[in-house]
Symmetry: C2
Subunit: 281 residues, 2 copies
């Protein structure tokens, strides 16, 4: 496994492999890799001749006052994991390499104004821009994203479609701790007490999955899930929402593929979780 | 020469050629081709194994009330010209093929808020988006743009740089009628009287080129050029400006590479012209 830190070197190496007819899989990450990332990397390794893991803590998707500076990092451990899983390259540029007096950006209407986009107004513009850059640098055949960031996945799919990127977007299921907590780099912020309290998100998600049925009013489903969240005094609910899984518009009832998602603060840590409801018909 | 109308067919044909190691040149146009376009196509044919001319009247770069509906079209003549010049493909999609419930877009800060961007607020967002799409569909090695649309050329260069597109942007000089008028599809809007009056733009540009010298105050240069424009009663000046040729910021004096540009209405037709001043040092 080789670490590449410059865009020109990444292009040189990857174009040569492309000319040889090799397929390339890309796993875009912000580092501090956990088993969720590992599941993406494993798939990229299995499905492509070359697997590239980008480790780049992208400043443009964090607003002023968000946790960019506090975000956990452990590049050595990230490299060890990538090596162990059989990744071919880790692409690890400095922010100055990626954004040198940059003014162009990629954005998307209406899918990005709800849910996470409502809470974090510049977030998805930063995500779309950095993913576009990574697509242009790596030119992957396939790119792997976790279902944990469900809205991000929907937005990337729409961006690829709208801008005609030649990339197959592969969504991968949420990976959970044994007690249900969705794996996240941000779990490291949790105190021992908060860590215990944080299981309330997945318990609420599981309860939602259990009771959801075709035609169920969204308000009833949200009510059931809020009921579980209310049992945990440390939980501060930001939203529990039911949206169309493709276009992210709010749904009144479970009559189409639906993203059921939540953001909850446990102490000062903001966590997200979700499930996708698939109608039986 | 072959006409392609769908994105999937363009990708299929062009990826096959790419795999064979062929180089691809792209000339993005809105059709109604004139000698200015011809000069771009000739260069694309000369410098690449495959030359693709896109003929697409892009609706997203026209605002409400602009001349989208009136914009001249002659697809048969366009094809004949492309054939004669040795182009390999004409890519001619319907608007519905290019924008199917589209929400993603590409934009650029501050370079696009001055000059043409000030007069046409959504214009460059439309240009950046459609050019990004064409780059992703065609995957050209080189793309050809005219210096006539100087700000567009600067913006495309910056976009390619910022988003790491694997495309070499080639700028080509303005092509003029024998009396100096810059070639433009919009010249067809001019009445016989207006056509004569329209030479005042190039006369002003030539006067500017004549008097420009290192360190000259921008206001003095603009004054000289406005003086020429004032001689034509049919001319309604929108702007004559001196800007940094790279970042499009206004310049006080000719102390760096400068774009000296104008927009002038002749009757109801809006025309543009420009020259680039290169300091001697």
């Amino acid at each position: 496994m080789q670490v590449i830190t410059t865009i020109s070197e990444a292009k040189r190496v990857l174009r040569a492999l492309k000319r040889e007819g090799k397929t390339i899989g890309l796993v875009p990450t912000m580092g501090y890799l956990h088993e969720g990332h590992a599941s993406l990397i494993e798939r990229a390794v299995a499905q492509n001749d070359v697997a590239v893991v980008s480790v780049f803590l992208n400043p443009t998707q964090f607003a002023e006052g968000e946790d960019l500076d506090a975000y956990p990092r452990d590049f050595e451990a990230d490299c060890a994991l990538c090596e162990r899983l059989g990744a071919t390259y880790v692409f690890h540029p400095e922010p100055s390499e990626m954004y040198h007096d940059a003014h162009a950006f990629v954005n998307i209407d209406y899918l990005s104004s709800t849910l996470e986009g409502a809470a974090r107004p510049i977030h998805f513009r930063g995500v779309c821009t950095v993913v576009s850059k990574l697509f242009n640098i790596v030119q992957p055949d396939r790119a792997y994203f976790g279902q944990k960031d469900a809205q991000q996945l929907a937005i990337i799919r729409k961006m690829v479609d709208d801008l005609n990127f030649d990339v197959q977007v592969v969504g991968c299921p949420i990976v959970r701790e044994s007690d249900g907590l969705a794996k996240s780099s941000r779990n490291t912020y949790l105190s021992a007490e908060d860590r215990k309290a944080a299981t309330v998100l997945s318990r609420s998600v599981f309860r939602g999955q259990e009771v959801a049925h075709d035609g169920m009013p969204a308000s009833e489903l949200v009510g059931e899930m809020l009921h579980v969240l209310a049992e945990e005094p440390r939980a501060n609910v930001e939203y529990v929402c039911v949206n169309d899984a493709i276009d992210m518009q709010p749904l009144d009832a479970l009559d189409t593929e639906a993203l059921v998602s939540m953001a909850v603060r446990i102490g000062s840590t903001r966590l997200i979780d979700n499930f996708v409801y698939q109608p039986a018909k």
